[in-house]
């Protein structure tokens, strides 16, 4: 390519910079999703891959397109899918709310420190990421199991006499989720609170607002962006979470992410699994992101 002048060169440079992330998204997000989307309309088929091709060549001239909505009707009619959907919303929703209530004061505290201490605290927040996610969830099995750390502690101190079954319940799943996703809540909240001009608090107090009123009418509305992105960053992955409900929730906790795994690997029903994935994406993620965009305007 011949660049006539510097402007040309810069223009191509700009295009290249945009092209890389665009290509990445196309290749690793859009194409896989389209594939899943396609599979969700095909019929199950014994073999590998375990679904029938939607396009078949009947003879030289005719291409047959076979689409079925059966996967979707099954999801909409079978109670187990409804149950797991509701349970997912409940668990992911509670985890999000708990993370928000734990994370906000933590982020607030960190944002009010001097810069050097902020770095230390933020380092502590993201320190768990140095260890594998799976390993950390396993560690919670050790803590929550009937003969685990927590039960032993409570029994030794005479608070309870028989071990409490933390594991294999929504409660266990919830603890795991709050633990794992708290940093994703704290970080966006922190960046919103760090940008927040403290003088606005003084202005509100000066105009006669009590501390609680100041928080509700000034701090909260001005950190809305952080709250929203924190909630989205916790809620969406929590909805699709597989490892935590599998290890800490046992077979009593059915969540969408786990259901997809079961359909894919245990039942080898790729079309139904794909259909669940498509529904999740369209029913939750797209509206949430749209809502977030609107709320921030």
């Amino acid at each position: 390519m011949i660049f006539k002048n510097k402007t040309d060169w810069m223009l191509w440079g700009k295009r290249l910079v945009i092209f890389i992330p665009l290509a990445w998204l196309l290749l690793f997000v859009l194409f896989p999703f389209l594939n899943i989307f396609k599979i969700s309309f095909s019929e199950p088929y014994p073999g590998m891959p375990p679904y029938a091709s939607i396009l078949t060549l009947l003879d030289d001239q005719v291409i047959q397109l076979r689409l079925t909505l059966e996967n979707y009707t099954l999801i909409f009619t079978d109670a187990i899918y409804h149950y797991s959907l509701i349970n997912s919303i409940l668990v992911a929703g509670s985890a999000t709310i708990i993370c928000l209530f734990l994370g906000y004061p933590m982020a607030y505290y960190i944002a009010r420190q001097e810069e050097r201490r902020q770095t230390h605290f933020l380092l502590l927040v993201i320190l768990p990421f140095w260890t594998s996610f799976l390993l950390r969830v396993y560690a919670w099995v050790g803590i929550l199991s009937p003969k685990g750390l927590l039960n032993n502690f409570l029994i030794n101190w005479g608070i309870i006499s028989k071990p409490i079954l933390f594991l294999n319940s929504n409660f266990g799943t919830l603890i795991g989720m709050v633990y794992c996703y708290l940093p994703f809540m704290i970080l966006p909240l922190f960046s919103a609170l760090a940008k927040f001009d403290v003088q606005l608090l003084e202005a509100a107090a000066d105009l006669g607002a009590r501390p609680v009123k100041t928080f509700l009418r000034v701090t909260l509305p001005l950190t809305k962006a952080g709250i929203l992105s924190g909630c989205v960053m916790v809620f969406i992955p929590a909805m699709g979470e597989f490892v935590i409900p599998e290890l800490l929730g046992g077979n009593k906790t059915l969540m969408l992410g786990k259901l997809i795994w079961i359909e894919f690997f245990s039942n080898r029903d790729w079309p139904v699994a794909s259909a669940i994935a498509v529904i999740m994406l369209l029913a939750f993620i797209v509206p949430i992101i749209a809502l977030q965009k609107r709320a921030l305007r």
Binding site: Q199, E202, A203, A204, D206, L207, G208, A209, P211, P221
Partner: protein, 382 residues
């Protein structure tokens, strides 16, 4: 005898009346940050309806003092009384005081209208009354047109007006202004200075302003306090401070001063003669310096009170010979820098440019005599 114009005897100002009760009383207030004293035992009385300025270089503690009046900082020692009530430990949201912040601190998520209404909403004022008062306040600062805008959509001057309306709307006992005009450009600043004073007089409120801009303080204040390193060095009207500074610091800080040192030769109730260290002729002053003979003294003369001439003055006192080092043409006036003969002392003299085309009579490298009136010499012992 020179005929003098008749001066009407003005009514006494609040701080001149013997029985006047101060509206704001600052009593021995001190404040430390990290062990360093920022405000040192300041006592100050401010009267109702005053426009009082705290003037000083940055770091002199003026903003801290203002914040203590607002309740945003608590004094370590001393008391603050507002309208006779001890407010020293009353939190900001309970004080009858509103502040205009240097950054304006407008709420970015609220419209101009909501920003201005904020204080009234906190008070629980009825909605219809809020609307009424907000409209009035916006009208006062000529911002009715922008009521629905957000602060980000306003220019610097409009933001300043919005902030002003917000801190006036509750009719506070004191309005505190922290460098209110610092963010405006020069033209707008000069215009706003007069407007602020008009608003203050119209509403009859008490204003306390912090500024580092002496011109601003001189134009706007009824009285001002000159601060240095946590202390108030002098309190007075702009005229008193300019013409009768009480210390070398104040004289040097306000405007430009030519300061000489010397020894008192003769001291009487109606005149003083000083032998300056660097000028050959003695200085005759038309008042008592209240200093003993032989004492060291500083004397100060404003540049606009110095005459320049090529002819040697006939008087025995109050002149010096020098060479014009530099001339700065400022439009309305020209400033002459004259190096005194046999010294390295530069004296600044200011002459008005009264005609347009004059070829200056005095130019660079000219030998000149500077002289001054015995009335226009300030003696400084502090």
């Amino acid at each position: 005898m020179v005929k003098r114009p008749k001066i009407n005897l003005k009514k006494l100002e609040a701080w001149q009346k013997a029985d006047a009760k101060p509206y704001v009383e600052i009593q021995n207030v001190s404040k430390h940050f990290d062990g360093a004293a920022v405000v040192k035992q300041i006592s100050l009385d401010i009267y109702k309806g005053e426009f009082f300025s705290l003037l000083g270089p940055s770091g002199c503690g003026k903003t801290t003092l203002l914040r203590m009046l607002a309740g945003l900082e608590e004094p370590d020692e001393g008391k603050i009384l507002i309208d006779g009530i001890d407010m020293t430990h009353v939190p900001a949201h309970e004080r009858p005081v509103n502040m205009m912040f240097q950054s304006y601190a407008l709420f970015p998520h609220m419209t101009v209208e909501q920003n201005v209404a904020f204080g009234l909403v906190q008070e629980g004022v009825a909605k219809s009354e809020i609307k009424d008062r907000v409209n009035k306040a916006l009208k006062l600062v000529q911002m009715e047109k922008y009521a629905a805008r957000r602060p980000q959509q306003l220019s610097g001057g409009q933001r300043q007006r919005c902030a002003l309306a917000r801190c006036l709307i509750k009719k506070p006992k004191i309005v505190l202004l922290d460098e209110p005009l610092a963010a405006l450009d020069r033209k707008l600043r000069e215009h706003t200075q007069f407007e602020l004073v008009n608003i203050q007089e119209e509403l009859g409120l008490t204003f306390i302003m912090v500024t580092h801009d002496q011109e601003e303080a001189m134009t706007m204040s009824t009285r001002m306090g000159i601060m240095e390193e946590g202390k108030v060095r002098q309190v007075g009207t702009p005229n008193e401070i300019y013409e009768f500074p009480n210390s070398v610091y104040v004289a040097d800080f306000i405007g430009t001063m030519n300061i000489f040192t010397g020894v008192v030769l003769e001291e009487a109730p109606n005149h003083t003669i000083v032998h300056p260290d660097d000028i050959k002729t003695d200085i005759y002053i038309n008042h008592s310096a209240s200093a003993a003979c032989g004492a060291n003294i500083s004397i100060a003369i404003r540049p606009e009170k110095i005459h320049i001439s090529k002819k040697k003055p006939t008087s025995q006192y109050n002149y010096a010979k020098g060479i014009v080092e530099d001339i700065a043409y400022l439009g309305d006036v020209s400033i002459y820098l004259v190096e005194l003969e046999g010294t390295e002392i530069i004296v600044e003299a200011m002459l008005p440019n009264l005609t347009r085309l004059a070829t200056p009579e005095i130019t660079w490298e000219d030998e000149v005599y500077i002289s001054w009136d015995p009335d226009n010499v300030v003696t400084l012992t502090g």
